[in-house]
């Protein structure tokens, strides 16, 4: 059984249907990448999983329990955390306060472990979060989610707007977090980097999953290479 199991997920915004029956699985200790261009519904999918949007139909099973009707704070309490698009950190508060809030009921029990992963944040604990650089804010966003001891982490466009040297750092971190035992669902425009660390991947097109498979297979699939990796397939 998968840790996260999405079946027939349909989400509407007003009269418009954004997701038309999405099926997706995230296995225990796996990284699943969702690829696709702007506006195909990737962020809507992520928000629906975290309970920000209420699905119109379909189920989202997490550890066997249907969480599709739960409120966002109830979903977080069950161990499903997200580092959302746009980071959504508390920019007027200090780095420490961001992490304390992220810890919720766990308080600062994870702090030491997390500062090993993010040594930069340790140096900036009393700084106002809004004064961090973009890359550091993204780190804070991920660290804040990890403070709540999640069993699955959702990452929505973690590399968006970052300098290339930070992008590599973020992806290295993601595979490091997986190695520590977490499952990860990542939405990315940077298909090349995402496919490198992912076990499985899905391609979204206009509110549906168009392709799904092992990341290594998709990385060699001519349709993916053409559309997302920006090149032609070279037959060897």
């Amino acid at each position: 059984m998968s840790l996260l199991e999405i079946r027939g997920l349909t989400v509407t915004m007003g009269v418009q249907e954004i997701l038309h029956g999405v099926d997706l699985d995230v296995a225990e200790r796996g990284i699943v990448a969702v690829l696709g261009s702007n506006g195909v519904g990737k962020t809507t999918l992520m928000r629906a999983i975290s309970g920000i949007y209420k699905p119109k139909a379909g189920t989202i099973r997490f550890k066997g329990e249907d969480i599709s009707k739960l409120k966002s704070h109830e979903i977080v309490a069950r161990g499903l955390l997200q580092a959302p698009e746009g980071r959504q950190i508390f920019s007027s508060m200090s780095v420490r306060e961001n992490l304390v809030i992220g810890g919720g009921a766990h308080g600062l029990s994870e702090l030491e472990r997390i500062l090993v992963l993010f040594p930069k944040l340790g140096e900036r604990m009393s700084q106002i979060a809004g004064s961090l650089s973009g890359g550091e804010q993204q780190m804070l966003c991920i660290a804040r989610a990890l403070m709540a001891k999640p069993s699955i982490l959702l990452l929505d466009e973690p590399s968006l707007g970052l300098a290339p040297k930070f992008v590599k750092g973020i992806f290295d971190l993601v595979s490091q977090i997986r190695d520590e035992g977490l499952s990860i669902l990542i939405v990315e425009q940077n298909a090349k980097a995402a496919l490198r660390i992912a076990d499985r991947a899905a391609v979204m097109e206009s509110g549906r999953i168009a392709l799904e498979g092992r990341a290594v297979d998709l990385a060699g699939d001519p349709r993916i290479v053409e559309a997302y990796l920006g090149g032609h397939v070279h037959t060897v």
Binding site: S50, S72, I75, P84, M93, G104, A148
Partner: protein, 304 residues
């Protein structure tokens, strides 16, 4: 030689200022989490005073008991107010609608409606005249400090307000509830992603803000010996001015501006009639709006 009369006026102004500060904090906290102005805040102050009055006439308990019961009533009022006038309009949970203009305008009307109903209800029940309070409860026994004479109320108001402000500061920086309130103020969507129950945080904010408003109401009632249904209007407006001057969402800003307002009104009564002293507050508001459209402490967050 400096006229001690001015010192006395300063003491009175300071009491007035901390009362405005207690009121302004309620406004500011609620504005922070929802970006809306709670127009029923003045009535929370009035109902708090009336709750104290009823308690005194019925049971004549000690002063501290009166104060604590009024604070509890204030919290309950805040809870009820949020459920009646604010929650029903919060049907969508994304960030755009949580702090949207439509939310702001509809809750502006609904809180104004609650305030009118509360004020008129009190007038029907008690009449619009001032209520008489038992003499022994009034906090206006004179205390002479050198050439200056202040009253017990000045000390009590100052101490109670200082305790409440200190308590609030502790709550907002050291407790999970307080951090949740600040998190929702800073970024309501982000708060959802870290597992904060935003609905519960919002209602808690109303309870805390209203507690301070109701506390201010009974203190002023006992200070001036005047409790009447329309008593919340002027302090409500003054606290609103302090919030706007302070930059809408800055608590320290609101407190400093409230003290400034109280002190300048206290001094103004030395030179002009006390009826005209209200002009000082409105003058400050106009000057702020023209020259500091983001408030004195707004740090460029939003135009007033």
């Amino acid at each position: 030689m400096f006229d001690p009369y001015y010192l006395q006026q300063l003491a009175i102004g300071l009491s007035q200022g901390v009362i405005y500060a207690l009121m302004a904090i309620g406004f500011t906290l609620i504005f922070g989490v929802l970006n809306v102005v709670n127009f029923a805040h003045g009535e929370v102050y009035t109902v708090g005073a009336f709750a104290g009055l009823l308690l005194i006439t019925a049971f004549a308990p000690p002063f501290l008991v009166v104060l604590f019961v009024v604070l509890a009533v204030g919290a309950a009022l805040g809870f009820g107010l949020e459920r009646i006038a604010f929650k029903p309009f919060r049907r969508f949970s994304d960030e755009a609608s949580l702090k949207s203009r439509a939310m702001r305008e509809s809750t502006l009307m609904s809180s104004l409606a609650v305030s009118i109903v509360a004020r008129e209800g009190l007038e029907i029940a008690f009449g619009s005249q001032m209520q008489t309070l038992p003499f022994e409860y009034l906090i206006n026994k004179p205390i002479a400090i050198g050439p200056v004479t202040i009253v017990t109320g000045d000390v009590i108001i100052f101490v109670v307000a200082a305790l409440m402000l200190g308590g609030l500061q502790y709550l907002l920086t050291k407790t999970r509830v307080g951090l949740s309130i600040r998190a929702v103020s800073a970024n309501p969507l982000g708060a959802k992603y870290v597992g904060i129950d935003t609905d519960r945080t919002i209602v808690t904010t109303f309870a805390i803000g209203s507690m301070m408003g109701a506390g201010a109401g009974i203190l002023v009632g006992l200070y001036y010996g005047a409790i009447f249904p329309a008593m919340g209007f002027v302090p409500g407006i003054k606290a609103f001015v302090a919030m706007v001057m302070g930059g809408l969402s800055s608590i320290p800003g609101a407190v400093i501006c409230a003290l400034l307002l109280g002190l300048s009104e206290g001094l103004a009564t030395t030179f002009i009639s006390s009826n005209w002293a209200d002009m000082v507050a409105y003058g400050f508001l106009i000057v702020t709006l023209i020259f500091f459209p983001q408030g004195l402490f707004g740090a460029g967050r939003e135009r007033v």
